[in-house]
């Protein structure tokens, strides 16, 4: 099938790729744009490992048609750190031991970022709601919820 051109912003970079029509966004990000931070856990919308933000809203990239990204702004974990400065969510995950195998982490971080961008002072229940589409096999979730609350507090200049 003839490939079609696709342009979008990935974190801060302008990306232009040719894609097979009907490709999913996750494949295009990983293989086309070379951003390996979004993970493929299930490829069917059940695990959340592939979560990316499209214009700030979380989407499961494995279920998103790549062509939908045309002209939009995609954010992935690859763009969270600014130079050597980790995003407060990344620091909180690291310091709070919120990752073991780490496979869910990129998706968790993006779901959490979308939440904190909209709701800087979330309640515990709001955090749980925000990551309810992200499966984690290792941590038991509690360290992840705690880390997101800690990051929120830090970003607001409070201590959790």
């Amino acid at each position: 099938m003839a490939k079609v051109p696709l342009t979008f912003t990935l974190n801060d970079a302008e990306i232009g790729v040719f894609v097979v029509p009907g490709s999913n966004l996750l494949d295009v990000l990983r293989r086309g744009a070379g951003d390996l931070t979004p993970k493929e856990g299930c490829a069917q919308g059940a695990c959340g490992a592939c979560t990316v933000l499209i214009d700030g809203v979380p989407h499961l990239s494995c279920l998103t048609l790549a062509e939908m990204a045309e002209g939009r702004r995609i954010s992935t974990t690859g763009g969270l750190a600014v130079g050597p400065e980790l995003h407060p969510l990344q620091t909180a995950f690291m310091e709070g031991f919120a990752a073991q195998c780490g496979f869910c982490t990129a998706g968790m971080l993006m779901s959490a970022k979308a939440l904190l961008d909209q709701t800087p002072n979330p309640t515990r229940d709001q955090v749980i709601e925000a990551i309810s589409g992200n499966l984690c096999r290792c941590t038991g979730y509690e360290p992840i919820v705690d880390a997101i609350l800690t990051a929120a507090a830090k970003m607001q200049g409070r201590t959790a």
Binding site: C42, Q44, G45, F97, Q100, I128, I131, G140, Y141
Partner: protein, 354 residues
Amino acid sequence: MAIHRGRGFACINYPIGMNLGGDPAQALVHSTPDGKFMVALSAIDLGQGMKSVTRQIAAETLGVPVEDVYVDTADSDTGPHDMGSFASRGTHRVGNAVIRASAEARKQMMEAAADELEVNAADLTTDGRGNIHVKGAPSRSITVADTATAAQFKQGRTLSGRGIFLIPPSDADPDTGEMTPVTCFAHAALVIDVIVDDETGEVEVTEINSAYEVGRALNPRLVEQQLIGGAWMGVSHALYETTEPYYPDRSHGPEDFNTYLMPGPGQIVPHHIAVLERPAEDAPFGGKGPGEMCANPVLPAIANAIYNAVGVRCDRLPITPEKVLRGLQANGGARPQGGNNGATQGGSMPQGQR
């Protein structure tokens, strides 16, 4: 129709690794020309912290800062042989191999430093901050980095070490049946509180209190992390997960994450842990590691708590609402076993009052 509270208890003697077929682990250590140490292993880190713990063990044995040690578990084709990351053997077996490999590399490092300082290697010690100096005379010193450079560019020697830890296979004595299937045991005891709805058969775990004895906790935060995550997996196995179909045949079984039931972040259970440290003699720096024990005792404790709450004894996992309801039906209703603890507040209470 009522919600019943129950409390269950379970304890475990847990074998660290199995010796039935012989159980070797190997490690190779070498230094770069600038005095960083690489540890090559084939036992991989699944997220349980093998890399962190073996890194600590190597640094401690070598006498160098932990920042100067790298653990590479990338490829079992090119790394030294290891039986693998399973049977809760990682910390114990691999850690012991790393100690041996690091001790050999340290010996070579001290000999190279002795040549440079023109002293006897036996008179040297490390400060753990990247320096090697004459005992009692810290000013007569050389850095680990300079030692490695001198060894590799001047003396023509490597700073490297090989380590293997082998537990030979243990056969049963034909007369007595006696054998040594394991070298050391870890232990745990758990108290788990549940509520059981006798109308729906649903079970909710409300609190876990546990004590784990894991030898020395080589990395206390990792131990806690593993115990919390592992207990959650135990809850999941006890109440939700199965690859076997409920009805009527395999084609109704789960095939993917959409149909394989697992608890999510909404089902977090408060878990209070006490870690008891009784260093094991044959373990690396006394650490046995928690291993699979972090999940196992959760299952019987939940089954006991359900029995305590409603008198239903489930011996098949997972304990689904359907199994609880069938048990209730067979018993002619809930039979709280009572007498358990202050947490029951009289055993059962009417719906809506939990």
